[in-house]
């Protein structure tokens, strides 16, 4: 198939074929990261800007490495050090950056819709690196890549997402992506953190962690989104951890060969205990590795799109 989209703003805009195409393309890129010389000349001379209004180590570095391994040039802009603190609007920042002719801008913002706004203003490609609680498409893609790699397929899987779902862009993007496949999706968390209407998306809601993860193939743990007011939805972190923290004992009650995922950063001891995070079922570090390959694939497809 041919990639025709200029931007990657959300999973919502992708067809199932496009999702699979990204995953297939990422396979080829994964191999490069294992070589001695981890570089191919494919995006030589292209300029990739990361524009992060919210802090991030993982996502930003992942994009930067992805771009550099494709021989592109990268420039990182963070809100605290940019003209944002001087009151410059997103619109003006966008126009100023555009004047410097980037090929791709990856934007992370605390407010939903910011990447969409950017994409309307600039001619270059825009990738959503996370917009508020809305979407984090590259995370969902790397999550699906990891599931497929570990389980051989996405169809037929029982996937449980646990945590602060109402504030989670990772949860939304994953749900949107997994709905294209023949999967059973369960969302688990305190009722205050599970938004109404989830069942309309074909998701099952379960408040009890043990029940939720029974026979699960994939357990995805999410952090409490403090920066989006998550802590106001529960009486205390301690109480949250008691009822929703994933412990080693839980794994036995899950499916055989269950994999434990987490988009990071983890709050060890809160939603996930050390022996699970570092245990044999955890694929958390593999998610990070796959993240580079998936992001390389995205950059490659966007810049090589059929116009």
């Amino acid at each position: 198939m041919n990639w025709t989209k200029k931007d990657l703003l959300g999973i919502t805009e992708l067809t199932k074929e496009e999702i699979l195409f990204v995953l297939d393309t990422a396979e080829s890129f994964k191999e490069i990261s294992k070589r001695d010389i981890k570089k191919v000349p494919t995006l030589r001379g292209k300029t990739v800007i990361t524009l992060f209004y919210e802090p991030s180590t993982r996502t930003r570095t992942s994009f930067e490495i992805a771009a550099k391994r494709l021989s592109a040039d990268t420039i990182n802009i963070s809100a605290s050090t940019s003209s944002y603190v001087k009151g410059e609007t997103l619109k003006d920042t966008a126009k100023n950056l555009e004047a410097m002719n980037p090929d791709v801008t990856i934007i992370r913002h605390s407010m939903p819709g910011a990447p969409h706004m950017l994409a309307r203003i600039v001619d270059s490609s825009v990738v959503n690196g996370g917009d508020g609680a809305h979407e984090h498409p590259t995370q969902a893609l790397l999550d699906l890549f990891t599931m497929r790699e570990k389980k051989g397929t996405i169809d037929g899987l029982k996937i449980v997402i646990v945590g602060d779902i109402i504030h989670s862009r990772v949860a939304r993007s994953n749900i949107f992506a997994l709905r294209h496949f023949n999967t059973e999706i369960i969302c688990c968390g305190p009722p205050t953190m599970l938004p109404p209407h989830l069942e309309e998306l074909g998701v099952r809601v379960e408040y009890n962690l043990k029940k939720a993860i029974r026979n699960a193939d994939v357990i995805m743990m999410l952090r409490i989104q403090k920066e989006r007011g998550g802590v106001n939805y529960i009486p205390s972190i301690k109480e949250y951890s008691t009822f929703f923290g994933l412990r080693k004992e839980h794994i036995a009650g899950a499916g055989k060969d269950v994999i434990i995922m987490h988009p990071g950063p983890m709050n060890r001891g809160v939603e996930i205990m050390d022996d699970v995070a570092d245990g044999p079922s955890s694929v958390i570090l593999e998610q990070v590795e796959n993240g580079v390959a998936v992001r390389m694939a995205i950059l490659y497809l966007l810049l090589g799109r059929e116009t």
Partner: protein
């Protein structure tokens, strides 16, 4: 659209035989040789050459598969730059590699393949084998082993068809 057959099924087989013999002769044996086929038809050709060498010398040479899309100088002008995996199950350092492709024309594919191999290591020597050389170079690169040679005119295209991919073995010149 007219076409004329350059090599028929038997001629393809004889040519592959000859190339295999030449490789063995030029390298005085096959001990240090490894094969890399360039996707897509180069891979099948490489498999056949590997088989022929095995028939003659009773030695099975390692075979790698190379996708050069990421190294092409025209990568973003392709209609669908679909990537396939590169799988080279051996260390390329310090060995002689026989790079195999179906048709050679401008030399750009070979350049891209050489760049790709260089990113994996430092081979001692790379030799190039092609089934058909249709001339019209744009870079100063030449095959060490060429099956047939055909100086294509304007409007002519040389097409290699292999049983594994196209259902039959032949090399034709297509006049559009």
């Amino acid at each position: 659209m007219k076409s004329k057959v350059l090599l028929d099924k038997k001629a393809v087989e004889r040519t592959i035989n000859r190339i295999a013999h030449e490789i063995i002769e030029k390298n005085q044996g096959v001990e240090a040789l490894k094969l890399i086929g360039i996707r897509t038809r180069g891979v099948h050709l490489a498999q056949r050459i590997k088989q022929k060498i095995e028939d003659i010398e009773h030695i099975s040479l390692p075979l790698g598969v190379l996708d050069i899309t990421m190294y092409r100088d025209d990568v973003f002008k392709l209609k669908s730059p679909e990537l396939k995996k590169t799988e080279i199950p051996f260390d390329v350092n310090n060995i002689t590699i026989i790079l195999i492709d179906d048709v050679m024309q401008t030399g750009r594919t070979t350049r891209a393949a050489i760049d790709a191999i260089m990113d994996l290591g430092r081979p001692k020597r790379i030799q190039l084998a092609v089934l058909v050389d249709r001339g019209d170079r744009e870079l100063p690169i030449h095959p060490d082993y060429a099956g047939a040679f055909y100086a294509a005119n304007l409007g002519e295209d040389v097409m290699v068809r292999l049983n594994e991919v196209d259902g039959k073995d032949e090399v034709v010149v297509v006049i559009s």
